[in-house]
């Protein structure tokens, strides 16, 4: 039973989705969905609690299944190392929160909605549990497809356009990264997609420098599109603005981390000289484009959901900067930041939707004074905003701090620019919180509230929010629980830092 734990975490949501799709009544479908979302979360927590110490970058819970393409070097090989573990936990927790929020949402055609969300959840667990980089890609796509459909059917304004734009951008990104992964498969000489085998092959005989340069370029732009690297980000705010809340939570919170995780776990360790070749453009795009340009655009937003979408694009800039340092400290910062950002952005999307249900608008200039009616919602929202700004005591602080420390050695100028981004996020974050919850309600809002008095968060909304808030505080006060296995893994796969020392000067 316990040997197949990771497989179960992937299969459980998929089976639940199949059961719901077979046409059971809606009440039963809700209970099945609860199981489908809780099993992966419980397995993730179990794996975290029992994660062995002292295994370096080796994989725990390793298990390989032959799907028929063994000869080609493709196996369904599942396992967790210190880098994958934090994200696996993230996927489990955010999935559970998004699932619970969806179950109470009362969406039209709820059963289809839940089934698609469960397929997405299965894919997400698979992405971070895969040791085989083919299946890593495969599960990402499995999780991506439901997003398009969900945006198209349950989306908000401009959903048709948003769904189409997202589909085309993300397909381009996915295709480029697929080419990059095939290139690694062929050029490493391993003819195998298994990451462990690939690492051994690269250690024995690295990939030639010319090939490394173009493969890293393919992966950087392919993953870059998927993570919304400026100026390839335009799908993200549009898509998140239109996406139904649970899909946005899962996509912005977890699925988008696929590209960064790919860079940290696969691209940089396997292609050290290719990475060194590309770090300067990557760091500049990240800091100037994502942090500063998008930061200012975020300040200008009048729509709450668009603002959260843009802020998520902006925070990816810090993550890219951390990747560009090519150091184990920077990479560690990136992973911590991914987890923290995933939790906080999911929370923000959840709470924005709850705000919408009370105000019937996302327009910031039409809101105000909601805190008097809904104190708990206000408290949660302020907490999420603080987390997203990077206040100490919440998880995001550690990620950003570590990235800045690592980036200082890489380039003091870029670090200074990046730190000024924190001020930008404080401006838009606090201003949004103030506009929604404090001050006097506008006339339009007062009318809406008179028709339908705002009630505070119901328990069905509180529970998913509390899961995310608890995780944010837990990691904020005890980052060691994640960083110990993470550091161990990074220290042993980042010989890349030796290459950087010469490349940066």
């Amino acid at each position: 039973m316990f040997t197949h734990l990771l497989l179960i975490s992937i299969a459980a949501p998929l089976v639940a989705a199949a059961v719901i799709a077979s046409g059971i009544p809606e009440r039963l479908a809700k209970s099945v969905a609860v199981f489908g979302f809780s099993i992966p979360a419980l397995i993730a927590l179990h794996a975290w609690y029992h994660f062995p110490v002292g295994i370096g970058a080796d994989y725990a819970y390793l298990m390989a299944y032959n799907t028929g393409l063994h000869e080609l070097g493709i196996n369904l090989s599942l396992g967790l190392n210190g880098i994958a573990l934090p994200l696996f936990v993230l996927a489990g927790l955010v999935g559970l929160a998004a699932g619970l929020y969806a179950i109470q949402s009362g969406a039209e055609r709820l059963k289809t909605y839940l089934a698609l969300l469960l397929v997405m959840q299965g894919g997400l667990m698979g992405v971070f549990a895969s040791v085989d980089i083919f299946f890593f890609y495969f599960f990402h796509e499995l999780a991506l497809i439901p997003t398009f459909i969900m945006v198209g059917i349950w989306g908000g304004k401009d959903r048709g356009y948003a769904a189409m734009k997202m589909t085309i951008y993300l397909t381009v990104g996915a295709m480029l990264s697929l080419l990059g992964l095939i290139a690694i498969y062929v050029k490493s000489g391993a003819e195998n997609f298994d990451l462990i085998t690939l690492r051994e092959a690269v250690l024995a005989q690295g990939i030639v420098a010319g090939a490394q340069n173009y493969i890293f370029g393919l992966l950087m732009f392919g993953f870059g599109i998927l993570v919304s690297l400026w100026p390839l980000h335009t799908w993200a705010p549009l898509g998140y603005g239109a996406a139904p809340s649970s899909a946005a939570m899962l996509h912005a919170g977890v699925l988008k981390k696929f590209g960064l995780y790919g860079l940290v776990q696969i691209a940089v360790p396997l292609l050290p000289s290719g990475a060194a070749h590309w770090v300067q453009p990557l760091a500049w795009l990240a800091v100037v484009g994502n942090i500063l340009v998008i930061g200012f655009i975020t300040i200008a937003q009048r729509d709450l959901k668009q603002m959260v979408g843009y802020s998520s694009v902006m925070h990816m800039g810090y993550a890219f900067l951390g990747v560009a340092t090519l150091s184990s400290v920077g990479a560690g910062g990136v992973v911590l930041m991914m987890v923290a950002h995933g939790l906080s952005v999911a929370l923000l999307f959840l709470l924005s939707t709850s705000v919408y249900h009370r105000t019937q608008t996302f327009d910031l200039s039409e809101m105000g004074g909601l805190a008097q009616k809904t104190p708990v919602l206000a408290a949660f929202f302020v907490t999420a905003t603080m987390a997203s700004i990077g206040l100490p005591g919440l998880a995001n602080f550690w990620g950003e701090l570590t990235i800045f420390v690592a980036a200082w050695a890489f380039s003091p100028l870029l670090t200074a620019l990046a730190i000024s981004g924190v001020i930008i996020s404080a401006i838009y974050g606090l201003r949004a919180a103030a506009k929604v919850f404090f001050g006097q309600p506008t006339e339009a809002l007062a009318k809406v509230l008179a028709d339908k008095p705002a009630t505070d968060l119901r328990w069905s909304e509180k529970l998913p929010a509390l899961i995310l808030i608890a995780a944010l505080f837990f990691i904020g006060f005890w980052p060691k629980s994640l960083s110990t296995p993470l550091n161990e893994a990074l220290e042993s796969v980042y010989p890349a830092k030796v290459v950087t020392a010469t490349a940066v000067k």
Binding site: L72, E141, L142, M164, M175, L178, V186
Partner: protein
């Protein structure tokens, strides 16, 4: 004559082509039944055709492991039995069964004689099965013509529909042209390889083995090169590769939907199985000629197919043109197959995934078509997912697989082709293929969009009737078939099992 030859002539191993013979007999049986069965029992005829074929297919697969003729030549070298040939035979039988099931649904909407449709389908299938095992240009041409002539009739089967007749005429003219080119190529090869002054010449130069030996000893013969290009042109017509794709949109639109499916899947697959035999074995020593010709063809085919499909509103034209682009991806694998054994396996896998996905989509199309079979528009799909979730789901799975979206079988097919192409160093072709895949997302997704995403349609005014044809309710047989196709598409996407191992062992 040597004693072995006499013995071979005396014993032609009829057992080796028993499935083909049985199909032919079944076709005759259908005609006999039509005469002897009373008029009101004629609906039995399709049932006999389908159950008969199912029995044949099951028996064939049952005997596959002990196939005694594999790796042998029979009928004096006319046929050569290979593992791949066995696979293609099963493939064509399966196609034929599916076409017959669709035929029952489509013919019910027409006032047409029905028996001939099934009889001709069976004969065409038998010819394709022989084509996949051919080892001699005489048999190659005869089998190919049997297929083509059968299709002339099938394409114009709805004889009261002007579009169907137009399609038949177009197919006849372009088909005759391509047969002429093909025949000219064969004659050139026959002539030059029979020239006794050249090394390696043979009196029996229509035979693939003899021709291969001749080409190996004359690597740069001009006449032979011209002949090869002409033969490739004839095959390119079958697979719908640019510049021999012009017939596709009109013929696909005019032909009855089951026949369109038959053309799209079986005719294309037959072309590719022959192309692999030719390029891998017979013309293998002319790689310097084959690679540029096929590469240009592949690039043009992928780009043309995808770009032309972008603007289509008639779904039959759309799927026809998207099928052109699939031929382009497959051509990449054919080129790679010269150096990468994996590529040939990729072609077979891709074809099988294409069969499953295409018939899923065509199955849905057949249910949505009205009495005017050529009029099938994207608008007719509006709201399909709401009114008929089953058909909507099957359509989405089929189209997703055609678009190459994981975890569906079509993605694995593309993945295998990409890996093979990368290993063979075909970077330009790979880049074009990626561009093609991205373009194709737009129209496949647009189709899914019209079935799934609610769009506003004008409410009917008083006295106005809905111009969209009524949707046929799904019968039990069709439902089981569609569900099986969809399920197989999903399962094959992440679990290839013994099939995958068989492919990689090529």
């Amino acid at each position: 004559m040597s004693p072995e030859l006499i013995q071979a002539a005396a014993n032609n191993h009829w057992l080796a082509i028993a499935p083909e013979l049985a199909l032919g007999c079944l076709a005759l049986l259908l005609l006999v039944l039509e005469i002897f069965l009373p008029e009101n029992r004629h609906e039995l005829i399709p049932t006999v055709a389908i159950t008969g074929q199912l029995g044949l297919l099951l028996g064939f697969v049952w005997n596959l492991r002990g196939a005694q003729f594999v790796a042998f030549e029979t009928f004096n070298g006319l046929l050569r039995h290979t593992q791949e040939g066995q696979f293609m035979r099963a493939f064509f039988m399966l196609t034929s069964i599916l076409v017959c099931v669709l035929g029952v649904i489509a013919l019910a909407k027409q006032k047409m004689p029905k028996t001939e449709f099934f009889a001709i389908t069976l004969v065409v299938t038998a010819a394709m099965m022989l084509l996949a095992q051919c080892n001699h240009f005489v048999l190659f041409f005869v089998a190919l013509e049997t297929v083509t002539v059968g299709f002339y009739v099938l394409v114009s089967y709805f004889r009261t529909s002007p579009l169907s007749l137009e399609a038949g005429l177009k197919y006849l003219i372009t088909g005759a042209l391509s047969s002429a080119i093909l025949l000219f190529g064969i004659v050139l090869l026959y002539g030059v390889a029979g020239n006794p002054t050249l090394p390696g010449s043979s009196a029996e130069s229509m035979n693939f083995n003899a021709l291969r030996l001749f080409l190996e000893s004359n690597p740069d013969n001009f006449l032979a090169s011209v002949g090869i290009v002409f033969v490739l042109a004839g095959v390119a017509f079958k697979i719908g590769a640019v510049p021999f794709q012009i017939w596709i949109p009109d013929v696909y639109q005019g032909a009855p939907t089951p026949v369109t499916a038959f053309l799209a899947v079986a005719s294309k697959a037959a072309g590719f199985s022959v192309l692999l035999i030719l390029t891998k074995n017979v013309f293998g020593s002319y790689q310097t000629l084959l690679v540029p010709v096929l590469s240009v063809m592949a690039i043009a085919t992928i780009l043309f197919g995808n770009l032309a499909a972008l603007t289509q509103h008639n779904v039959k034209r759309l799927i026809g043109l998207s099928g052109v682009s699939h031929a382009g991806y497959l051509l990449i694998a054919v080129i790679a197959a010269a150096t990468q054994p994996l590529a040939a396996g990729a072609v077979y896998f891709y074809l099988f995934a294409y069969l499953l996905a295409s018939f899923a989509v065509f199955g849905v199309m057949t249910h949505l078509a009205g009495a005017n079979d050529a009029d099938q528009d994207l608008d007719h799909y509006t709201g399909l997912a709401k009114t008929n979730p089953f058909l909507g789901a099957v359509l989405a799975i089929g189209l997703g697989s055609l678009a190459g979206i994981p975890p569906l079988a079509g993605f694995m097919g593309k993945m295998l082709i990409f890996i093979a192409a990368f290993k063979a160093g075909l970077y330009t072709l790979l880049a074009v293929a990626i561009v093609g895949v991205v373009i194709s997302i737009y129209y496949y997704f647009g189709w899914i969009k019209s079935a799934y995403f609610s769009t506003w349609t004008a409410p009917l005014l008083e006295g106005e009737t809905d111009t969209r044809p009524a949707r046929t309710p799904v019968s039990l047989n069709a439902g089981v078939m569609l569900a099986a196709l969809a399920a197989a598409t999903i399962v094959l996407g992440f679990y290839q099992g013994a099939f995958g191992e068989w492919l990689l062992a090529r």
